[in-house]
Symmetry: C2
Subunit: 129 residues, 2 copies
DNA sequence: GGTTAAACCAGTAATAGTTACTGTTTTGAT
DNA sequence: ATCAAAACAGTAACTATTACTGGTTTAACC
């Protein structure tokens, strides 16, 4: 299954790269449609999955039942506003100590890592009330 | 909207309380059906949601696209086996330091807490190879 | 540059998990 | 015992995602 170039995939990749707001498949679809008016949603999903598989994107799950995609592939944490759902990157390093802390006295298996997101109220929602 | 007693809700609550494996709505449905053969899946969902809303259960999302329910409502961490999907409770305290660490220098809003789950390979899957 | 097989596509159907609706039954306060 | 509110069973609808199908694009090879 050798990878072949595709204009659609390139547009999808470029769109996600251009955004910092962790778009969902649907948002990608809406936007890439401006360049490819009859691109199919299936193509968007297939390519997002493919790009995530080859490590050019990261799929992030934030408990809202929708997959988000992130162009930044280096591990990092996220902040989610409970009010409006906006997602920000947090730029402090992954806390490896947390894994070893969890590992101490854990007899259930081997811990390889952790998934964390922080929640709260974003600046805009705080300002509103 | 005063709460009224219901035998079905009680059975659902008792079932989740009796288990430590964080069952999904479907698992609850399958099991409660032994006592209430024609309980509806909608009733299970409605009551799980209600019980979570009044704080008798916790809804946990582990990135597998299915909601799990946990009878332990005190905040605690979970371990998920990437191989077989089994979920264990981890009994070390919530690391509040993590929140303050994330908060330092974060201008995007107010951080109220974090959701974390640890992943790896469970004892049984390690033994298999 | 033409041929050709594999990758890819658009369009559509199917699936999984969950929520919403509808008409009937249960609950509990009066 | 009456009766309104809450809950129910059964079913339909919805959302996010994946799978299928027959046609199109890509790129390796002559």
């Amino acid at each position: 299954m050798t990878l072949k170039y595709s204009r659609q995939r390139e547009a999808i990749r470029e769109f996600v790269m251009s955004r910092h707001d962790h778009p969902t498949a649907d948002v990608v679809y809406m936007n890439v449609r401006r360049e490819f008016p009859n691109i199919s949603l299936g193509t968007v999903y297939r390519n997002l999955t493919l790009l995530a598989d080859i490590g050019q994107l990261t799929r992030i799950r934030l408990g809202d039942g929708v997959d988000h995609f992130d162009a930044i592939t280096e591990p990092h944490y996220h902040f989610v506003c409970k009010e409006c759902g906006v997602v920000y990157d947090l730029d402090f390093p992954i806390l490896d100590t947390v894994d070893s802390e969890a590992d101490t006295g854990f007899e259930g298996g081997r811990i390889d890592g952790h998934i964390t997101y922080f929640y709260g109220k974003c600046k805009d929602c705080l300002a509103e009330g």
